[in-house]
């Protein structure tokens, strides 16, 4: 299964070295001075790595809603009025392993390694990541020619998350994420010119 979607959050810290918060770390833990996380117990986290997630996606949809006005005129062609506003929405669906993915099951992109999140890691991100200016959530949609790094990047806010577990497929959670997004920035776009 291709990892089409990469998800990450810009960290709050600008220190050198960067100190990741419990929300931003790949391995959040329950104690550690000022980083106590009361909702996680007995987690051996070190919080040394940033949460960079490569989602196993079976479906991705990008919809852009526009809102032009179409004013009907009696016995005449309608008048169209469009202020040029738009609202992109992105939905992603796929599966999540219940246990940690094998070592090395990662996706390399722009010099960083992205990890397949477990259900715990993704649901933690859903509740703990929120869109703040300067600490944006970045969604990267990789196109099929991954080797030449063709991608679209969106700043997103998580609108809803659906997780499912079924007794006939006991090793995986299913997920569906919905995002509201800004206009994308493309890297090396494929286009016929």
């Amino acid at each position: 299964m291709r990892s089409l979607i990469l998800l990450e959050k810009t960290q709050a810290s600008r220190a050198d070295p960067i100190v990741y918060t419990n929300a931003e770390a790949l391995d959040p833990k329950h104690t550690g001075g000022g980083t106590t996380e009361n909702f996680i117990y007995n987690s051996p986290g070190s919080m040394a790595k940033k949460a960079l997630y490569a989602l196993d996606a079976t479906g991705v949809a990008v919809k852009t809603f526009r809102q032009p006005l179409q004013v009907a005129i009696p016995k005449s062609s309608p008048i169209l009025f469009d202020v040029g506003s738009y609202r992109p929405l992105i939905s992603v669906s796929g599966v999540l392993p219940r246990e940690a993915a094998p070592a090395g099951h990662t996706v390399a992109f722009n010099g960083q390694e992205y990890f397949t999140p477990t259900y715990f890691q993704l649901q933690h991100a859903v509740t703990q990541w929120n869109y703040v200016q300067g600490e944006e959530i970045l969604l990267t949609l990789l196109h099929t020619n991954v080797n030449s790094v063709t991608y679209d990047q969106y700043n997103v806010a998580i609108q809803s998350a659906n997780f499912g577990l079924n007794s006939v497929s006991p090793n995986f959670w299913t997920y569906e994420l919905a995002f509201v997004a800004t206009r994308s920035v493309a890297g090396n776009p494929s286009q016929n010119v």
Binding site: A100, A157, I158, N162, P170
Partner: protein, 165 residues
């Protein structure tokens, strides 16, 4: 059919035969659905990228469905070292009316994950019942289907599984 390990606990069950003591049920669940609804605002701007505004609020809802025994048994299932009894349809029906969530009657919903090493791994939600359905059908009267909807908080997670290498 195998079932998903989901457990229900009332820490102070005033409808228990020993009033105020803990009641624990192991549910025979076939499906779990968790919906986390957030509420960001996307403000469209003319000829410009939309503005996003997110307070970071979230509202999880858990829906479970499965089957329940019509007749009593002495069966129980363990989560760690704690035993949970299989409820009957009568007991599910009673808890739908007699359990309510408050500080004196905390209801916990456990979703068990595969063991993390030798440790039990699970999510523990504080949960308020929103709806309970017990559905009898001809031919399966001994094991009617049920569904339960809970409004929950953020879960406490014990020994979580994480991909870190």
């Amino acid at each position: 059919m195998t079932s998903v390990a989901v457990f229900l606990e009332n820490e102070n069950d005033w409808s228990n035969s020993s009033s105020g003591s803990v009641t624990r049920y192991a549910l025979q669940v076939e499906k779990v659905a968790i919906v986390i609804q957030k509420n960001p605002i996307q403000i469209a701007a003319p000829k410009n990228s939309p503005y996003l505004f997110d307070l970071g609020t979230y509202k999880p809802t858990v829906t479970i469905s499965g089957v329940v025994d019509d007749q009593s048994s002495s069966n129980s299932v363990s989560l760690g070292s704690t035993a949970f009894k299989l409820p009957t349809a009568y007991q599910l029906s009673r808890l739908s009316t007699d359990w309510w969530f408050d500080t004196t009657q905390v209801i916990n919903l456990y979703i068990q994950e595969p063991d993390s090493g030798s440790n039990a791994s699970y999510f523990k939600y504080k949960a308020a019942l929103s709806a309970v359905t017990v559905d009898y059908k001809a031919g399966s009267e001994e094991r009617p289907e049920f569904s339960m909807i809970f409004f929950t908080g953020r879960p406490k997670v014990y020994y979580p599984h994480m991909t870190i290498t």
